[in-house]
């Protein structure tokens, strides 16, 4: 609460002075430079349950092909003599060869049996176990991590996009933004807005961030009416889903995230949807894979030398059935895969204890047996990247987690 009142005071002071970025003392580079640590962490939530077995294929397991006669026929690049990458991610092979791309197989959250996307994602983002106390369930583990970072401030962590990102929401201040947002308000309008929201905290906090970010990201002067009308005449975005729009959006997210990370942001969270491939998976998984690949390559390109200090982890709510279903897709499963990338990780390996695909190896006779915890992987990455204490990770960030042995990802 104290934090909030301080920020409110800051807003009022800033607004009273005017609207240029210079009037926001906290937004200057001098203060930004005192970032709490120098590494960068990007966490991507893959919504809809990524089929880890199709993306990182156990081609060396003799049972694999027969379990999925209609999937994985499109040969992808070999990662080693056992694992094969989905051809839709072939563009990442240079990263693999450079040791900047890795995978973890047969991992899951502690979520079991009900296989609901929505509860699965809640648990993934809360970082909780089935029996965690309720106060942990309503906030994201990345937000709890912020509380443990000395000197963390709102701009240390960014949620990028229009989607809600529970993984980063909670008590600690953070920012969220979509790159194409516009807000054209006069200085007087800003003062009145500040008063309008004075007694409504959620509106107040959202508007405050919106004002800070529009100032930081765009020219602080509101456009003249002429420019404004011209902008209106520009070609409009199309409304319906198509590859062009989706990919342009991912490219914009990557560019925006990279720009923030080159400056003072240390943690970025975002989400990619579209992994729920119940039918016709061979075709259906290609578009989300293309977006994921574009995101990763866009980040790498945008980050430049900062890529070397960056760890990227992509995680999903659960895996999918080991056998293909009756409609050339896969249904909700348990064990899945994680993707890691960045110059800060030690890639070039498929980690995780591989449980095998024989009937007796499967979870509930249908799913890949989870042999590791998604949260432990994330915790080891954070531990290696930021030096966060293991005890803190196992209690306050991921309550009740046993991190186990260091898999050596970072």
């Amino acid at each position: 609460m104290t934090q909030h009142l301080d920020r409110r005071g800051f807003l009022r002071g800033g607004l009273a002075l005017g609207c240029s970025a210079a009037a926001f003392p906290l937004m200057t580079h001098a203060t930004f430079a005192s970032a709490p640590f120098d590494h960068r962490l990007v966490v991507v939530i893959l919504r809809g349950a990524l089929d880890g077995l199709d993306v990182i294929r156990p081609a060396g397991d003799r049972a694999f092909r027969s379990l999925r006669p209609d999937l994985g026929q499109d040969e992808g690049p070999a990662l080693d003599d056992y694992w094969q990458l989905h051809p839709g991610l072939a563009g990442l092979m240079p990263l693999w060869k450079a040791g900047e791309l890795g995978f973890v197989q047969a991992v899951s959250t502690p979520y079991r049996d009900q296989r609901s996307h929505f509860d699965g994602q809640d648990m993934l983002e809360a970082g909780t176990a089935m029996d965690s106390p309720p106060e942990f369930r309503r906030e994201g583990w990345l937000n709890r991590l912020l509380a443990d970072i000395p000197g963390a401030r709102a701009e240390t962590a960014f949620a990028v996009g229009r989607e809600a990102l529970p993984i980063l929401s909670g008590k600690s201040p953070m920012q969220s933004w979509a790159p194409d947002t516009e807000m054209r308000v006069s200085p007087q309008g800003r003062r009145l807005l500040a008063q309008l929201y004075e007694s409504d905290l959620p509106f107040h906090a959202a508007a405050e961030t919106a004002l800070e970010l529009t100032d930081m990201l765009t020219d602080a002067d509101p456009p003249t009416p002429a420019e404004d009308d011209e902008a209106m005449m520009a070609p409009q975005k199309v409304m319906m889903p198509d590859a062009g729009r989706a990919n342009a959006e991912v490219a914009a997210f990557a560019e925006f995230a990279a720009a923030r990370l080159r400056e003072d942001t240390r943690i970025v969270a975002l989400s990619l949807a579209g992994w729920d491939t119940h039918a016709g998976q061979e075709q259906g998984i290609r578009r989300p894979l293309a977006r994921l690949e574009q995101l990763m390559l866009g980040l790498q390109a945008g980050l430049g030398p900062v890529w070397q200090k960056t760890a990227f982890i992509a995680m999903t709510e659960f895996g999918r059935t080991v056998r293909q279903n009756g409609t050339k897709g896969t249904d909700h499963g348990t064990g899945g895969a994680m993707i890691t990338a960045g110059g800060a990780i030690r890639g070039g390996k498929v980690l995780g204890r591989w449980p095998g695909l024989a009937d007796s190896d499967l979870y509930a006779g249908r799913d890949l047996m989870p042999t590791g915890d998604v949260r432990a992987v994330a915790a080891w990455v954070i531990h290696g990247l930021m030096g966060t204490d293991k005890g803190r990770l196992q209690t306050s960030v991921f309550p009740g987690l046993d991190m186990g042995a260091n898999p050596g990802i970072v």
């Binding site: 809600a164 807000m183 009145l192 508007a207 279903n325």
Partner: protein
Amino acid sequence: MTTPKGLAAHRFGYGPRAGRLPDHAPAALLGKRDRMLKVWPGQSTEQVLMKMAKDRQADRDAANPEIRRKIKRVSFMEGKRQALVNARLELARAVDSDDSYRERLVRFWADHFTVIARGASQLPMTTAFADDVIRPNITGRFATLLRAAITHPAMLTYLNQSSSVGPDSVFGQRVGRGLNENLARELLELHTLGVDGGYTQTDVRQAALLLTGLSVNVEKGTVYLDKRAEPGAETVLGKSYGGARKARIEDIYQLLDDLAVHPATARHISWKLAVHFVSDTPDRALIEDLAAIWLKTGGDLLAVSTALSEHPAANRPALEKARQPFDFIVAALRALDVGGQQITGWNDATLRRIALNPMAAMGQTWQEPNGPDGWEEDFSRWITPQALATRIDWGIQMPRRLRKTLPDARNFVDMALADMADDDLLRLVARSETGAEGVGLVLASPRFNRR
């Protein structure tokens, strides 16, 4: 001054039209006819299917790949164009109706039974689903609505039921196709019992086996193909369904009827209604009262909806919910007195600029939620920095594009909020430098964005 009448119109409807409040209680017209389908009629499911069948035939008749590509392109564009026509119609109905609670309930149930088009040619089906499944059934029994929703081509296609086949059915054995659990799982988890409703993975699988046979044919719409249906009986929640020599669609109806009046369903949907209309953390008493009415009346949605709007716990003055982006746009258009006649006259670019692009930027892409669970309810989901920035921007920029003369900002407080207006807002608006910003402040105000 907040009055009960003003609050009810704000919470259960879309607020006043240019300051005028309806002179009836929210649920008063629910028992009467839905006039909006007559005023702004759209395409029926049959018409959409006919168009899809025609496109398919043209594709088959195409003499060469060049012509085939051309046909595909045309049908893609036509699907998109029709979807834009539909968006105008749905906005026009929401804006023009005096029966706003009905319009809000249409959105609630269309969201409860979310269907998302796969590909442009299916886009027009989403509105046809709302018109043919949701609108006629939201004041009847839930069992009727459930049956209509689950067996509609849009649902069967979206959740892959149309391609699910009983592994031991005649067809399954012959072509080696099998089961897809998608619809069965969401039927139990989202549409009826709820994730805590006491079912297991075995129930999901058994329900999936029972649902086999339901399929879609572009010429005939929904069909039941007993050759695809899994033979034998299936047991869901301890009750056995089917098992006659020939599989029958009636066995599926029996399961849906049972699920519709299951206590877990009554509780789950009562909770959902209370969350949608009243609070992210609704009173237990409210949920329990609604669930009790549900069970007593066998899932009579008129009784349940009426009870919700009249319940004391649903009529407290605290505005806990955020208007979702569609509701924001509709309420703003009503406040500005922009009617259906004007909306249906917009060209595609105007529709996108005024409604669809801003809705997307506010976090709600029209007819495209992320998944079958539809749009989130949490207040924090909608009042984010980027979404609020877009609401503020819309409030300042759009009204002057929508009206020849902008209303006086001080009068606009009353046009937008009527009995919900407050003096502080009026004073603040009076201090804005331009009329556009004054109007914008009203539309950006917590009062207008909460309900």
